[in-house]
Amino acid sequence: MDFSWFSEYHPQLWLAALTTVQLLLVSGSAGFVLAILVGFGRLSKQPFIAWFSLSYTNLIRGTPLLVQIYVLYYGLGSLFQDMPTLRDSILWPYLREGFWYVALALTLSVGGYLGEVLKSGLRAVPKGGLEAARALGMPRLLVIRRIWLPQTLYMLLPTLAGESVMLLKSTALASTVAVMDALGVANLIRNQTFLTYEPLLIIAGLYLLLAIAIEQLFKRLESRLPFRNAL
């Protein structure tokens, strides 16, 4: 085992780890918001909204994430390339970067997978409490914000932990479109040092640590809910 490269590359390693965490946070939170919309959309009484949400989840869950990333990065990216107005706009530096295409792809993916999870969770909340809220005069959005969604999310905390770890692992696909995330930098080090295992081992350890951190965070949250057995 040869770790002599570490002292030279470790600033890049930390930067890459930061990129991975940023991808996780950006697509995690944006995807979460999207998933809430999809979850409610799946339960909508409006046939078009319900149909659209279902088609969306089918599309996302029925195609490989890597294909989605390629479609966005190469497809959308080359489309943007041909639009002079975009090229001159202040958005261009972002539109050129793989990071934002991967973030978008992951967001859409979380929206599809988590949306389906949220749909089941929303459905599992007892109707009686929602009815009581309406009967006491709560407007629809307040019922959702204060009664329906909180109970759903508390109930789903273990699932959310699992989905977050899945998302963390999915971020590694960013390296396929030249993003210098954790895996991306490991590949770079491999190419430059001709070492195969050492950089990969380090990076695997890093993913593992992040996964454990996520699990612990959610465990902490869960143990703070004194009513968790009642949900």
Partner: protein, 265 residues
């Protein structure tokens, strides 16, 4: 001639010619009645006669197909959607009306992720715009009144059914409603737990709280009601004071129902 006891009292609920069907099944077929301030109106009748549906039409948890509903002087506005289905014209109005009617359910329906106190202040603070300290003060008074002040920081799951239902009553009272609606508040409870809930409702009746009560507890209905409605297949078949309905009903069916209920008890 005796003066009409309600002549000076305001009508809080006016229902006129209410119709409601579920699919092809007519559940309410022209129900009319009025509840005045301070009255306790009991709805009795066999299972499936439409008691719950009538109660749920009052606060628009169900939208009637036709008829008139006036709550505290405000008439509910309806309109027809594209398919000709009746719906409420103004959701805001419904929310406003619902804050004047507070409902207590058979299954308590407390919010499990909030403590007892949080359950009580949620609507006063978030909907009625009360200041939090005042809402807490009122909530604690009400909890003391229903006898569970010591449980205010507990979560509903840690309370007995009787305690949960008393919290639900306090939660309803905390919105300072004009009328309390009860849908079989003791049916899900063991007799000894039902007793503590009935005691709370009896106290409210004595304080002059206006109530509409769906119940199978005939003895209790006879004791507290100022008016009793006997529903049969979506129609009011008998209406009168508790004494009239329970002791000398004009409808044979009502007489049989009441007798059967008392025999069972």
């Amino acid at each position: 001639m005796l003066p009409d006891p309600h002549a000076t009292k305001q009508a809080v609920i006016e229902i006129a010619d209410l119709h409601k069907r579920f699919g092809a099944h007519p559940v309410l077929q022209g129900v009319s009645f009025t509840a005045h301030q301070g009255e306790v109106v009991s709805l009795i009748g066999a299972s499936g006669s439409g008691k719950s549906t009538l109660l749920r039409c009052m606060n628009l948890l169900e939208v009637p197909d036709s008829g008139r509903i006036v709550i505290a002087g405000e008439q509910v506005a309806f309109r027809n959607d594209r398919k000709g289905q009746t719906m409420v014209a103004d959701p805001r109005q419904v929310e406003r009306i619902r804050t004047r009617l507070a409902m207590v359910f058979q299954q308590f329906n407390l919010w499990p992720h909030m403590t007892v106190l949080e359950n009580l202040i949620e609507v006063p603070v978030r909907v009625l715009g009360q200041a939090r300290p005042q809402a807490i003060e009122l909530a604690e008074t009400l909890l003391a009144k229903v006898g569970i002040a010591d449980k205010r920081h507990h979560y509903p799951a840690f309370l007995s059914g009787g305690q949960q239902q008393r919290v639900a009553i306090a939660r309803a009272l905390a919105t300072r409603p004009s009328v309390m609606l009860f849908d079989e508040p003791t049916s899900a409870l063991d007799p000894e737990l039902a007793g503590e809930v009935l005691k709370v409702i009896r106290n409210l009746a004595q304080e002059g709280c206006t109530m509409v009560l769906v119940t199978h507890e005939m003895a209790f209905a006879r004791e507290v009601s100022s008016k009793v409605l006997f529903l049969h297949q979506g129609r009011i078949e008998e209406v009168g004071t508790a004494q009239q309905v329970f002791e000398s009903p004009s409808s044979e069916r009502c007489r049989q129902f009441v007798n059967a209920q008392f025999c069972r008890a």
